[in-house]
């Protein structure tokens, strides 16, 4: 039972490196392999969650070496929550990819696509579990390369250019992270998160400058990778030009795992003591408010539907950072629950957009009027996602916004409730016209939508995601219980 986290990571790795060999001459096989491995791992993680409920959180030592010698995996509720989210969302995306991938990636590239996808899943899971800076650095790099390659695999020139931009900026981010790790190692002498946390108080006393510089470098480094507001410039290009399943996983999961790693490092390693010596949390609050408003305003100006969704991601990352940096229990819960909720919504929206592009080849939102008559299911679930983004009660987006607002109130910063309300208004302004135009508008003259239905393997994931959005909006109890435990773990330290 205790070995399950490593089993989950290893099976993804095995799948990743078996698919180029197995897929030679049989391009359908890697996809099936991936669609077996990822759901199976999700089940294994469910078993692990039950097990952790019985025996409590624990650390797993790779190679049987306890720290400071070995690498430790941290099996707690936060990592389990993230790993579950990664596997559940990836499963849905993989099912969708079966129908959609054929027209975006050439057939001989499919085996490489699944290699990269599984590698990305393995790296993200490892990042969620890692309790060691060394490991975090390595898997950050693996995830970055896999993500860049997932964008560039389409071999259109926009994708290649976006991928190059992403790569260069991420490399700067990795450089900063490595520098921060070096500075932390200099004053604490450890790479293990728990041990560094133990040394932190003494180190902050003796070398306050080192700790502060390391903290800022970490925030900037992971901020670039997780598209924190002023550092988000790579995201719209990268996420809008990638193939739709890639956009979904990049927007839904990849940027968030870096945010989670940053949150874990800030709250458990640096802790309240260091945070209180400088207005780090306040700066994060301001930046995330800027992200929420700025991202929404940028999205308002877009006409390309995938670009609009990409800018919306910038705003939603702001919610997550806002919730965490409120440093109250409800705020943290709101930020954490928004990770999963936003993953559901944004995956749904990207996949629905992908289905529309798959059928009509149109990306311009002004040309999509009347599309609901031809694609009622796709447009219906798109509307669910859009309403959920706006935060209508009954959808899951409302739950996270409610917790964020409560958290702002608890923390004694009610000004941020206004930010949340304002952003809901802006979300409404750019999402609802698409829905209204699609349902009520008449098709433009000369735009003939083909009557072909999209394949079943694309409809099922869309409907499942739409139902999940409503389910977690009406019955959020079990999810909130898991998130509460994760948040308690973060906030207690």
């Amino acid at each position: 039972m205790n070995h399950l986290p490593i089993v989950v990571i290893c099976t993804s790795l095995i799948g990743a490196f078996a698919s180029p060999v197995l897929g030679k001459g049989r391009p359908w096989l890697p996809g099936i392999l991936a669609r077996i491995i990822v759901p199976a791992n999700a089940v294994l993680l469910g078993i692990l969650l039950a097990h952790v409920g019985d025996v409590g959180v624990f650390h797993y030592f790779v190679g049987g070496w306890a720290p400071p010698w070995g690498i430790a995996l941290n099996v707690d509720y936060l990592s389990l929550y993230m790993a579950m989210a990664i596997h559940v969302i990836s499963t849905i995306i993989l099912v969708f990819a079966r129908g959609d991938l054929g027209h975006e990636v050439r057939l001989d590239g499919h085996r490489w696509y699944y290699t990269l996808f599984l590698l990305l899943v393995a790296a993200m899971t490892a990042l969620a579990f890692s309790n060691d800076f060394f490991n975090i650095f390595v898997f950050t790099e693996v995830a970055t390369i896999a993500a860049c390659a997932l964008i560039a695999i389409k071999a259109y020139r926009e994708c290649v250019e976006a991928s190059f931009k992403y790569l260069i900026l991420s490399t700067v981010g990795s450089g900063f992270i490595l520098l921060a790790l070096a500075l932390l190692y200099m004053v604490t002498g450890h790479f293990n998160l728990s041990l560094v946390a133990g040394e932190m108080a003494a180190a902050a006393e003796a070398y306050p400058m080192n700790i502060m510089v390391a903290l800022v470098l970490l925030i900037v480094g992971f901020g670039v990778k997780s598209a924190m507001f002023p550092l988000h410039v790579w995201l719209p290009d990268a996420h809008s030009s990638a193939p739709s399943p890639s956009s979904a996983i990049l927007s839904g999961l990849v940027v968030k795992i870096y945010a989670v790693v940053l949150i874990r490092v800030i709250l458990t390693v640096f802790g309240r003591g260091v945070l209180s010596t400088a207005p780090i949390a306040e700066m994060l609050l301001l930046l995330s408010s800027a992200a929420i408003i700025g991202g929404s305003l940028f999205a308002l100006a877009q006409r390309d539907i995938k670009r609009l969704l990409a800018y919306s991601t910038v705003a939603q990352i702001g919610y997550i950072y806002l919730g965490i940096s409120l440093l109250s229990e409800s705020g943290t819960m709101g930020g954490l629950v928004h990770i999963f909720n936003h993953a559901l919504m944004k995956t749904l929206l990207f996949l629905a957009a992908g289905a529309m592009i798959h059928q009509t080849g149109l990306r311009d939102i002004t040309k999509l009027s009347g599309i609901a008559k031809k694609m009622p299911i796709t447009m219906g679930v798109f509307s669910i996602g859009a309403l959920s983004m706006v935060g209508i009660p009954g959808f899951n987006g409302f739950i996270s916004k409610m917790y964020l607002a409560t958290g702002a109130f608890e923390a004694g910063k009610p000004a941020f409730i206004i930010v949340i309300l304002l952003s809901s208004l802006l979300n409404g302004l750019y999402y609802l016209p698409i829905v209204v135009r699609a349902f009520l508008g008449a098709p433009d003259e000369g735009e003939v939508f083909t009557r072909d239905r999209i394949p079943l393997s694309m409809t099922i994931p869309l409907v499942a995601l739409g139902l999940a959005c409503i389910y977690f909006g009406l019955i959020p109890g079990p999810l909130l219980e898991l998130v509460r435990r994760a948040a308690e773990h973060l906030i207690l330290l």
Binding site: C10, L13, F17, P20
Partner: protein
């Protein structure tokens, strides 16, 4: 590049470079170097041959299919070696003494480290060659 001196020197030097690369890989657990450095040296020897003598001939030595095979297989060997210790009821990648009577400084020590280093060496050598050939030719990367 049809330079006689260059070609002859390359052909004479190749075995020595390769033996050195294999030495570095095998002694990864005893001396500096290891899978990564040794693998790069091995790969570089093939690249040297390709550049000075003949790209086509070098590709005959190491075709693309074999490279894909080696790259996947070596990672799988690494992971499976780690899973062996899992099956024996220990933690992932726990060092199980597969080489008896370890004596400091001899080759057959270090348990899993030598097989793992060999796998890394194979992977790195093959990756270096593939990187070169894919960049060199007008092929989809």
């Amino acid at each position: 590049m049809n330079d006689f001196v260059l070609q002859t020197v390359t052909q004479i030097l190749m075995p020595f470079i390769q033996v050195y690369g294999i030495f570095v890989v095998l002694n990864g657990h005893l001396s500096p170097g290891g899978g990564f450095a040794g693998g790069t040296i091995l790969g570089a020897s093939i690249i040297l041959y390709a550049l000075t003598v003949d790209v086509k001939a070098a590709e005959g030595i190491y075709p693309d299919e074999r490279a894909e095979m080696v790259e996947s297989a070596s990672v799988l060997v690494f992971v499976l070696l780690g899973l062996i210790s899992l099956m024996m009821g220990r933690n992932f990648l726990t060092n199980i003494g597969i080489f008896p009577s370890p004596e400091t400084g001899t080759l057959l020590t270090g348990g899993f480290i030598m097989p793992v280093t060999l796998a890394i060496g194979a992977k790195v050598a093959s990756t270096v060659i593939t990187l070169f050939t894919h960049l060199f030719e007008e092929k989809k990367s």
